[in-house]
């Protein structure tokens, strides 16, 4: 059967999106593939479709449990029953059952942690897999921003003989990260596909202000006077809270969003935003994962993103419907210092290296450091991983290097902000691509007619009123 026919039969689509077909064809010829596709651009189809011609299970390694759950549910929605998530949510009985029947599933989702367990490895070694997918592959890179040591460990496991082709997927990766992915996963002459990073319908604004107070004045004015839906990204939970309160006072339909809220509250905010009951979300970078709203018109950064990849991912949430959207980055002199402070806050320090060795020499488990709250969990994982493999001196060099890389990433972002040339050209160039064509209202430096883009806010947007408990109950259960 032709690939197009398969696509229609299993997923109901009539044509492929850019990149999908090339990636799938390479995989079916047993070639390794690195595919860089943004979220919401049909990344998962690259392994979903091959599964129906391979007749062998596809193993998908995914570092985020919530994302894994979404993907499992997506497949079930298309009527696929032979799909399972082998993760720490399973009870012991469930896990035993799943492992026993593992070869009967078409899609096996699992986490790097799970893949390191001996019984899982043994079971997989007995099976014939059709394809191995490494999702969010940028986590494997030690220079990546979400480095996961467990991902490095699976690199060892993946380099075994007679393995099926590997598909490494990521939404954001620079050249350096791509090289890391290739080497760590021991990919053999992989086919590389990278989407066009340019989003011509997003106009790239930049506003330089004097200081924090100036920033607040500008933001309050801008958000109350222009149209949403929009996301305002801020640097801390506290700031998110403050801005949303101030904007609420001004009658803006807004809510704060950050990881400090409960799971239900976070879902409620997303649903309200999608349903159009909210015009603005004031969020930390916790917001965005899995949000599927096509008509976001503005993304504003109150503070500097930690790196260009994050920036691209965050502004990329605007204008998914293809219509004009506006991204504005606010900058006050010295913002980069705060950004640097934040990005290195999570790294282990040289002192931690010595402390780790000191505990070892006293025959105390180094994990005690974590229990004492001397460093974060991520930091400990990184430290523990490297000190089991290298000497203190080597690890110290490595840590210094890591911090420097993070500083560099902030500086690269700063260059984008400070450039006098075309911002779009700079951004696209950073990902190793060439800008084909400059759109109208391209960027701050090429010139933006703000008044053409920002529609005037319809002031009289009605706040959603509470219904009586009787009618709410009726609506919930009977739909009217």
């Amino acid at each position: 059967m032709e690939l197009e026919q398969l696509l229609h039969k299993h997923f109901g689509y009539s044509s492929f999106r850019p990149g999908q077909k090339e990636v799938i064809e390479a995989l079916l010829q047993e070639q390794d593939v690195i595919a860089l596709l943004p979220t919401g651009m049909g990344k998962s189809l690259c392994y979903q479709l091959p599964a129906y011609t391979l007749e062998k299970p596809v193993l998908i390694v995914s570092p985020l449990l919530s994302l894994m759950q979404d993907q499992v549910e997506e497949l079930k929605r298309f009527g696929e029953k032979r799909v399972v998530a082998l993760n720490s949510f399973l009870s012991l009985t469930e896990k035993r059952y799943v492992l026993h029947y593992l070869e009967q599933y078409r899609f096996i989702f699992t986490s790097p942690e799970m893949l390191l367990q001996q019984q899982v490895q043994e079971k997989l070694a007995q099976m014939k897999l059709g394809l191995i997918v490494v999702d969010e592959a940028h986590c494997i890179s030690q220079w990546g921003f979400d480095f996961r040591p467990d991902y490095l460990r699976i690199g060892d496991w993946l380099s075994r003989e007679n393995r099926p082709p590997i598909l490494a997927l990521s939404a954001t990766a620079t050249k350096k990260v791509v090289r890391d992915i290739r080497e760590t996963l021991s990919l053999k002459a992989p086919f590389e596909f990278m989407y066009n990073v340019d989003r011509p319908n997003i106009h790239l604004g930049r506003v330089v202000v004097e200081d924090k107070a100036d920033k607040a004045r500008w933001l309050m004015h801008h958000v109350t006077e222009t149209a949403g839906p929009g996301i305002l990204y801020v640097s801390s939970r506290k700031r998110a809270q403050q801005y949303s309160e101030a904007l609420l006072q001004e009658g803006v339909r807004v809510a704060a969003y950050h990881a400090g809220y409960g799971v239900e509250d976070r879902q409620f905010i997303q649903q309200q935003f999608i349903a159009g009951e909210l015009d603005w979300i004031v969020a930390t970078n916790a917001f965005g994962m899995g949000i599927n709203k096509l008509d976001i018109r503005q993304v504003i950064h109150e503070s500097m993103p930690a790196n260009i990849a994050n920036y691209m991912q965050e502004i990329g949430r605007a204008g998914r419907d293809g219509h004009s959207a506006l991204a504005i980055l606010l900058y006050a002199e010295g913002d980069e210092e705060l950004a640097k402070f934040v990005v290195t806050g999570d790294l282990p320090t040289l002192h931690h290296v010595d402390r780790y060795q000191e505990l070892l020499s006293q025959q105390i488990q180094p994990i005690q450091m974590l229990k004492n709250g001397e460093l974060s969990e991520t930091a400990f994982r990184v430290l523990d991983y490297w000190l089991q493999r290298e000497s203190s001196e080597q690890v110290k060099v490595r840590l210094n290097h890591l911090a420097l890389e993070k500083y560099n990433a902030v500086n690269e972002m700063l260059q984008i902000i400070q450039t006098k040339d075309c911002i779009r050209e700079h951004l696209v160039g950073y990902f190793g691509q060439k800008l084909q064509k400059k759109p109208e209202n391209c960027c701050e430096n090429c010139g933006i007619h703000y008044d053409v883009i920002k529609k005037v806010c319809l002031k009289e947007k009605k706040k959603v009123e509470m219904a009586t408990w009787e009618s709410r109950l009726q609506q919930l259960l009977m739909g009217n």
Partner: protein, 343 residues
């Protein structure tokens, strides 16, 4: 509401305990001392209302009370209520929490109900997939079984649940605002719920107060359902297994079993490899919550009488004072007598 609850607890513990005792009660600490305080000072309704209450939030309230001259706290943490504070406490309304019997399980009830309502709402709209409001696989599995047991595919469950909810909410002796609060924590197809912050803004109170009003309403609702279980086949099922029947801590339960098998206290200490004082805590717990448990083997009737006389004479349940007055009795004996209650 939080402040009113605190005032009520402080009033009951007045001059007898440190301020921390109130904190432990609200967090539902399962230590011998706290469990004993619950019985001695009749604090059952407040037990475990806020398992995640931070010490900062608690201390802020205490500081405010001190500034208002409601409370006087000594360096040791012991406190007494000023006249103003006692007046304030008198003015607080009666609450109908039942922390002792639900211990946070009201949230399990609500998680089940939320997912049931969300599923039925989508089914009514003929929308087959949605992102479940509860990610807890235990809750998901439970709700799946529930829906199947009540034949949701036939399409009548919506109407049945609506009738039951309407019935229970109509007769529930709480304000319409409280009922609205509960309904707006539920969500359905194209009907997002409201966040705690949004609800608190609407009600012009703190998030914590909204959450407490929500918990109180659920406790009242659950007790209504349990009392007339035959009237609520569906809600009764949703509430299944959530009311705590065995009131002893797990560890005290084990001690009780050994004691019933005829082992002495000393033997139990050895067998369980626990401290004598811990096992004593268990016996005190037994004295408090097990009506059939006799303290006779440990304290004579005459001795118990003396304790009660002294307690009246000195107007206190403080062990230290009672021990000074009755120095031939051990602390353990005193606690047993107080826990068992006046004969």
């Amino acid at each position: 509401m939080f402040h009113q609850i605190l005032l009520q607890i402080f009033q009951k513990l007045n001059k007898e305990r440190t301020i921390s005792a109130a904190y432990h009660v609200l967090r539902g600490k399962r230590s011998g001392q706290t469990i004993q305080d619950i019985g001695l000072f009749q604090l059952h309704q407040y037990f475990g209302l806020l398992p995640k209450l931070s010490r900062t939030t608690f201390d802020e309230a205490v500081n405010l009370f001190m500034q208002n001259s409601w409370l006087n706290v000594q360096e040791s943490g012991h406190f007494y209520m000023e006249t103003l504070g006692l007046q304030r406490a008198q003015q607080t309304p009666t609450f109908f929490f039942d922390g002792w019997h639900y211990r946070g399980n009201e949230h399990v009830f609500f998680a089940r109900l939320s997912l049931i309502v969300q599923s039925l709402s989508h089914q009514a709209a003929a929308v087959r997939t949605f992102s479940p409001i509860s990610r807890d696989t235990m809750i998901q599995a439970w709700v799946r079984t529930f829906l199947q047991a009540h034949h949701y595919k036939e399409g009548h469950l919506q109407q049945q649940l609506l009738t039951e909810c309407n019935h229970v909410l109509t007769i529930l002796p709480v304000s319409d605002a409280s009922k609205q609060l509960v309904l707006y924590r539920l969500s359905g197809y194209q009907l997002p719920g409201w966040t705690w912050q949004q609800l608190a803004d609407e009600r012009k109170e703190t998030v914590l107060d909204s959450q407490l009003a929500f918990i109180e309403t659920l406790h009242i609702l659950l007790n209504e359902v349990h009392q007339k279980i035959d009237d609520y086949p569906l809600l009764g099922h949703v509430a299944e297994g959530l009311k705590v029947k065995i009131l002893l801590t797990d560890s005290a339960q084990q001690t009780a079993q050994l004691y019933e098998q005829g082992y002495s206290m000393e033997q139990i200490v050895q067998m369980r490899k626990l401290k004598q004082s811990t096992i004593e805590d268990h016996f005190v717990e037994l004295a408090m919550y097990e009506p059939n448990f006799s303290i006779g083997p440990f304290v004579s009737y005459d001795e118990a009488q003396k304790v009660w006389q002294a307690s009246k004479q000195y107007q206190t349940k403080k062990l230290k004072i009672l021990h000074e007055a009755l120095n031939d009795m051990s602390y353990f004996q005193l606690r047993l007598v107080l826990a068992k209650g006046e004969v």
